[in-house]
Amino acid sequence: MHKTKLQTIYFSLLVAFICVLLPWSGTALNLRPDFVLLVIIFWILRAPNKCNIGTAWFIGLWVDLATGGVFGQYALAYTVTTFVAVVYQRRLVLFSNTQQLVYVLLLLIISQLTLLTVKIFSGNDVLGWSYFLPSITGVILWQAAVALGLNTSRPSRSK
């Protein structure tokens, strides 16, 4: 039986968070996938008992701090996204890779839409379609991770 260690989850979240902290600029900033959310989705699909909405909310707060925006924006976006992920978690793990990819794309877009809604309410401009590019790069990153052997379905092979 497979068992995910809590440390692994927190370590991967930390690494993802450091990826966010990297000095991105220009086009790279516009393309930067949401590393933290991808890692959270991954762990929610794989170990929902260890990583859940609360974890997502908490790390969302740190992302809020790093982006310098109003506290709670990313936290809310991650909460909503992980809720959708958790609700459909059992179906998701049974999906094929391609189906999962579409689902992850949807989740990433949900997160961005939530964020966009909050931002628009606080008086920001709509940025145009390029705003959703990180979702696309996020899915590409997900596919790359899957190709490298990361697997959301509970492995039959023991680790």
């Binding site: 930390l14 958790v86 059992r90």
Partner: protein, 368 residues
């Protein structure tokens, strides 16, 4: 539901607490918490210090994240070619020479200006002190135009300080953390900057456009005397930005029949997005005790000491500016607007013939 759930769940988890509260309950709880946080943070000022504390925790992580690019920078610097260094050296020498000449003139002019001002019993112009900072990274929020600079409240950077580089104004400090501060660029939608057209002295307020790196001059009538290529400089009446700094160049004027206002697009003069080093300059606040921050700072000391003999003052900022290559930025602290407002009372002069030179423009006013 529970049975179904256990059949599928192959997780190794304690039987009790397999899933805890339902997802919906969690969603409601954490969403409410987020909304409460957002409301608190945007409407009330409680979370400012919390944010500062947490930034201290974030600092080491930030260092780790910046390490690769720093390492890259330093290694590429190490392996930079002899030829390039020689070229740069030559260029800097030339620049230093040019600046030394203008500095001599500047000293004489400053002395003359002080004497004249004393004669006319006019207000002394404000002084500034500067410190060099470096951009840590660009703001991560795609909705705003911000940069993070490696000088913070520990280095006496204050909220509201203006950020200027060797070419012009680039923004204003909007948030200070212990070891870093957040600078909102003038192209940000939420930032406005009082400007003056260099050619005719017309005053206006420039608004950041937000989406592309431009500034707008809204609410100016369609027949306003602004031409393409006009230079915008800071008017200095806000008490935040020192007077006469380059802000932007007018690039496009659109006048449409259905609007009483002209649409004027300007491109910032300063290197909004391509500089690494920044120079932080604060204007000392003549009559306010709040200025003690600047006075305690090493460079601030030198400068406030120089207040008595104002002639040395431009020296301090000028040498600081000439020490660093062209890509530098100044941060200038806010000053009470009152000091400068009197000198700028002159109504906007629409005749293009009058060339308002910042230092001479004040003279006639002081008399009335």
């Amino acid at each position: 539901m529970a049975g179904y759930h256990q059949n599928l769940d192959q997780q190794q988890a304690p039987a009790f607490f397999a899933r805890g509260p339902s997802p919906l309950a969690r969603l409601a709880f954490f969403s409410a918490l987020s909304l409460a946080l957002m409301a608190t943070d945007s409407r009330l000022q409680y979370l400012g210090s919390v944010r500062e504390q947490l930034m201290v925790v974030l600092q080491p992580l930030q260092l780790i994240a910046n390490a690769p690019s720093m390492l890259y920078d330093s290694t590429s610097e190490y392996f930079s070619t002899h030829h390039r260094l020689l070229n740069e050296n030559q260029f800097l020498r030339k620049q230093a020479l040019i600046q030394a000449i203008s500095l001599q003139k500047m000293n004489a002019l400053a002395l003359e200006n002080t004497n004249l001002r004393e004669l006319l019993a006019a207000n002394q112009s404000l002084e500034e002190f500067s410190q060099l900072g470096e951009i840590l990274h660009v703001g991560r929020d795609p909705f705003t135009k911000k940069i993070i600079v490696n000088r913070g409240s520990n280095q006496q950077v204050v909220d509201g300080a203006a950020v200027v580089d060797a070419k012009g104004v680039i923004g204003q400090v909007t948030r200070t953390y212990p070891a870093s501060s957040e600078v909102t660029l003038i192209t940000d939608k939420s930032l406005t900057i009082p400007i003056q057209i260099e050619r005719n002295g017309l005053r206006a307020i420039a608004f950041g456009h937000g989406r592309d790196n431009t500034l707008d001059l809204p609410f100016l009538p369609a027949n306003v005397d602004i031409k393409r290529g006009d230079q915008l400089i800071t008017s200095g009446i806000d008490g935040v930005y020192p007077k006469g700094l380059a802000v932007a160049t007018v690039t496009d004027i659109q006048i449409s029949a259905d609007s009483p206002f002209a649409r004027i697009v300007c491109i910032p003069t300063g290197g909004i997005e391509n500089h690494k080093q920044v120079l932080i300059v604060s204007i000392s606040q003549p009559d306010s005790p709040a200025n003690s921050g600047a006075a305690t700072h090493p460079t601030g000391n030198a400068n406030t000491a120089a207040k008595a003999a104002t002639t040395t003052k431009p020296d301090a900022t000028q040498t600081a500016a000439s020490k660093v290559p062209a890509n530098t930025t100044l941060v200038v602290a806010p000053v009470p607007a009152a000091a400068d407002i009197n000198q700028n009372k002159k109504p906007a002069n629409p005749t293009p013939a009058v060339a308002t030179e910042p230092s001479t423009a004040n003279k006639p006013h002081a008399q009335d």
